[in-house]
Symmetry: C2
Subunit: 206 residues, 2 copies
């Protein structure tokens, strides 16, 4: 009798599953594939949140050993009196997401992108006139998690721990208008400004 | 008879070895310690040379996954008509040397530092006015190997594969005056410009 019930369950499940993949999945994306990608992110690369959902920043000892993505520079002297993003932006990605980017050219669920900000320390060196890094000044994180973050931000959550030391020890999700809106409108590839990151462009889907 | 000769060899070796460590080693450094450090560098991080001693560059697929050290910028527009080092200098270190730097605050034998050069691609973005990376343009390597490279360069060998694509597939050791002399005179810590690299300063001997 129990075997009979199981058979009915299986036979019912087949058309339901088929209907899901043919009709529903193309609209909302493929959650089982997303879950599989997310599951492959190791514990050390998973973001940690407080009980009320604020993000706890990764340690510099961790993210400074991740994959470096690029470094835009918006110095104060070109953005008087002070740049919105002071001044060097050092950008890193977690290694598991990097491997997926190289493989498929997409950022998987569980992608973490870190933006560390440093000051301009010097404008002249023996190598020439220019901009040379000074001290660490700020920290921001972006996390791709479609279940946790709003659809309007395409599943990416933006967090800032401050642009001046001492940094915050936890931070709430930024409002859509503060960060995500600009990425939606201007970023080259899935909310990431790949147009300024030759390292990402060269590795994509390679 | 053979055993007797071996005994004499061993007994002679003891005072000679002692004399070396007490008198000679403090002057020229400790080669056995250097050899031990060098031995711990894995094959994938070891430089490869042609039969006539020219260095073969590491693949970007390898060094772009090493530890990022920092990124000075000497743009052409501040160094007319053209900067000596065009323009963004992305600097990486091999992971084994990085771990030793964190542990002891020294660069071990077998340290490889890569300088990849990229152009300025844009001077304005939604984040502000500034400098944004364009395309890869050049590549340089520095290798610490006291046995292979001259004492005047403190055991570091400098190699350039060009500042414009296509890059050279192998390169000879640069003359002392071309690179090393300037590092001897100006670099903050053992030929490395740590004064411009907060990532290195923060990790030193930590």
């Amino acid at each position: 009798m129990k075997q009979h019930q199981n058979l009915i369950t299986v036979l019912t499940a087949i058309p339901v599953t088929l209907a899901f993949y043919l009709l529903i999945a193309p609209i909302f994306g493929n959650p089982s594939s997303a879950a599989a990608q997310s599951a492959s992110i190791p514990e050390a690369e998973k973001p940690k949140y407080t009980a009320d959902g604020e993000l706890i920043p990764f340690s510099p000892d961790v993210y400074r050993e991740w994959i470096w993505v690029g470094e835009p520079l918006t110095p104060n002297d070109l953005n008087p009196p002070e740049a919105n993003f002071p001044e060097f932006h050092d950008v890193y990605i977690n290694p598991t997401a990097w491997r997926e980017w190289k493989k498929s050219g997409t950022f998987p669920e569980g992608t973490v992108i870190i933006k560390e900000l440093t000051s301009v320390g010097s404008k002249n060196a023996v190598s020439g006139n220019g901009y040379f890094q000074g001290e660490f000044t700020g920290l921001e994180h972006v996390v791709k998690d479609s279940k946790r973050f709003p659809k309007e931000a395409r599943g990416w959550g933006y967090f800032t721990f401050g642009h001046k030391y001492p940094l915050k020890k936890q931070a709430p999700l930024q409002q859509f208008a503060s960060c995500a809106a600009c990425h939606v409108a201007n970023a080259g590839d899935d909310m990431v400004f790949t147009q300024y990151y030759p390292v990402l462009r060269a590795a994509k889907g390679k």
